[in-house]
Point group: C2
Chain length 203, copies 2
């Protein structure tokens, strides 16, 4: 088969750039590039302006390390949020998921990762020291550890519990069990085991 | 639930722009935006430059109406391609698919659509007149009609056959049948019917 370049170079170059994005293969990149080619000029300009603006303006909150477009993020500077309750999460996407649930009205602490000795990630590589600095028993009423329920997430949660125990701040871990609307036959054995062990009385 | 905006505005705006792309929902847009946020600055600049460059430089070939970055496309100006064989396709993506197969060494004619009376698309809305102009028996040795095998594609093919019959140029239609590697149990009845009717002797 000859060396096939079925599109003009500018399209192929854009397809190359698009395939660097997660979950975008050659076929999807082709569809996206052809779509962008046929959209009005103003759409392409808006898309590029939005990319550049986001890269330029989004920074990290100096208090909770969430994504922010100001020095202190919207949540940390919101007087209607409980500033004395801290929810510890791994990354901004996990924080966004909790925000979308509408279940939480306190503030956050974004670790920016989890402890993972196998990958060489220790407490000094994530924002653990900053969490310990914030965890002052005079100002903090509760710390909710909401790292993921993976092996690394669980061990990071244990590490936090161990290090803060002496400060006598009430600490909790998000519940694990069968997801709401979940069908038992598709739930993995470990989750079912946890759901059985942590069963609670009917209310 | 409160009005939830879990990310700073610049990220949400980029997510809005990304969801205008085909096959990109809110969840994928979120993943893409966060990925772009964390890539090096130079990637975002390259992506934007590629988008703008493609929009500015890609045009339509004046001969075959394929996508091109010059007045006449690479294939139409390639002396090693058979300039006397024209393959008629619906759109640039179909042309790209044939090019990728490496099965064809002639030139193309991109209609830019198909006849579809129900959508109000007649011969004057696609590049039919231009095809008839190019179809000169003195210079063209064969016309291969490779419109899709949809109802509209088939009727467009018939329309072309009817209008060019009097010029006595050899005309052909791409073969229909069971796809290579296809499992008969997943092939639709109409395709099987066609494959039976058009069966050929063992060679």
């Amino acid at each position: 088969m000859p060396d096939v370049t079925p599109y003009p170079d500018p399209i192929l170059r854009l397809m190359d750039s698009l395939t660097c994005l997660p979950g975008i293969g050659r076929k999807t990149a082709e569809r996206l590039a052809l779509h962008i080619l046929h959209t009005p000029e103003v759409y392409a300009q808006t898309l590029c302006r939005d990319i550049i603006r986001m890269k330029k303006t989004v920074c990290i909150c100096d208090t909770c390390f969430a994504l922010s477009d100001s020095v202190t993020c919207r949540i940390c500077s919101d007087p209607s949020r409980n500033q004395d309750t801290i929810c510890v999460v791994e990354n901004p996407a996990d924080m966004a998921a909790i925000e979308k649930s509408g279940a939480y009205r306190g503030v956050y602490h974004v670790l920016g990762g989890v402890l993972s000795p196998i990958d060489g990630i220790g407490p000094e590589d994530i924002r653990m020291k900053e969490l310990f600095c914030r965890s002052d028993p005079r100002t903090v009423r509760e710390i909710i550890v909401a790292t993921n329920t993976s092996v690394e997430g669980e061990s990071t949660a244990s590490y936090i519990m161990d290090h803060l125990r002496s400060r006598h701040i009430p600490m909790s871990r998000i519940a694990t069990g069968v997801p709401m609307g979940g069908d038992l036959q598709f739930v993995d054995p470990l989750t079912l085991l946890t759901a059985m062990e942590r069963r609670h009385a009917f209310q």
